[in-house]
C-alpha cells in the first residue's frame, strides 16, 4: 500500500512555502519535500501537527492507496 498525500495542495492553498510549513511543525524543509513526494511516512504526531496547521483531519491529508 502506498501513502498518498494532499499536503502540497493544502500548503499552496495557504500560500506557504516548504520552509515556512516546516518551521510551523518543527521539522526540516527537506522532510516536507519528501512528505509531499510521498517518499516519507510521517509519525502520528507529525501527521496530526500538519493536519492542525491546515485545520483538516489527518485522513484528509494522508491516505493509503493499493499499489497496482
Amino acid at each position: 500500500m502506498k501513502l498518498v498525500t494532499k499536503l502540497r495542495e493544502h500548503r499552496q492553498a495557504r500560500g506557504l512555502d516548504q520552509a515556512e510549513l516546516a518551521a510551523l511543525v518543527g521539522v526540516r524543509r527537506e522532510t516536507i519535500g519528501r512528505l509531499e513526494k510521498g517518499l516519507y511516512n510521517p509519525s502520528l504526531k507529525l501527521a496530526m501537527d500538519l493536519a492542525k496547521v491546515f485545520g483538516v483531519s489527518v485522513e484528509e491529508l494522508f491516505s493509503f492507496q493499493e499499489e497496482e
Binding site: 518543527g26 521539522v27 526540516r28 527537506e30 511516512n41 504526531k45
Partner: protein, 136 residues
C-alpha cells in the same frame, strides 16, 4: 533584523564528510611517506594550516554550531546509520576471527588510531547522507 545564517543539516554533514576525508587522506599519506623529510617547510606549514582549518570545521559541525536542528527523520536516519555501522564492525570482527592466523596480533600507533577514527567518522557521515538521500 540580522539573522544568523544557518547551515542545513545535510550541508553540515557534507562539510563534515569532506573534512574527515581530508584528515583520512593526510593520515594515509603520512603512513606511506616520510612527510617531514620529503616536504619543504612552506608546504608543511600549508598542510598544517589546512589540517587546523579542517579540525576547526569538524569541531564546528560536530557541535552543531550554525546548523539547523534535526527532526524526526534525521533522528531515524542517525539510528539507522549507527545500526549499519555496528553491523559492519560486527562483520569485520567476524571476518578477522575467521581469517586471522594463530598468534596474529595488531599494534596501533596514535597515527593509526587517528586514521581509523577518521575512516569511521567519514563512513558515518556518508551513510547518514545516503539514508537522507535514498531512504524512505
Amino acid at each position: 533584523m540580522k539573522t544568523r545564517k544557518i547551515l542545513s543539516l545535510t550541508r553540515s554533514r557534507q562539510i563534515s564528510a569532506l573534512c574527515w576525508a581530508v584528515i583520512l587522506a593526510a593520515g594515509l599519506c603520512a603512513r606511506q611517506f616520510p612527510v617531514r623529510e620529503l616536504l619543504p617547510l612552506p608546504l608543511r606549514v600549508l598542510a598544517a594550516a589546512l589540517l587546523v582549518l579542517t579540525a576547526a570545521a569538524v569541531i564546528t559541525t560536530s557541535l552543531g554550531l550554525f546548523t539547523e536542528r534535526g527532526d524526526e527523520r534525521s533522528a531515524r536516519n542517525e539510528h539507522r546509520t549507527d545500526a549499519a555501522l555496528f553491523t559492519l564492525f560486527f562483520l569485520a570482527l567476524g571476518a578477522a576471527l575467521l581469517f586471522a592466523g594463530e598468534g596474529w596480533s595488531v599494534t596501533l600507533g596514535r597515527g593509526d588510531i587517528l586514521t581509523l577514527f577518521a575512516a569511521v567518522c567519514l563512513a558515518r557521515d556518508l551513510l547518514f547522507l545516503g539514508y537522507e538521500r535514498f531512504a524512505p
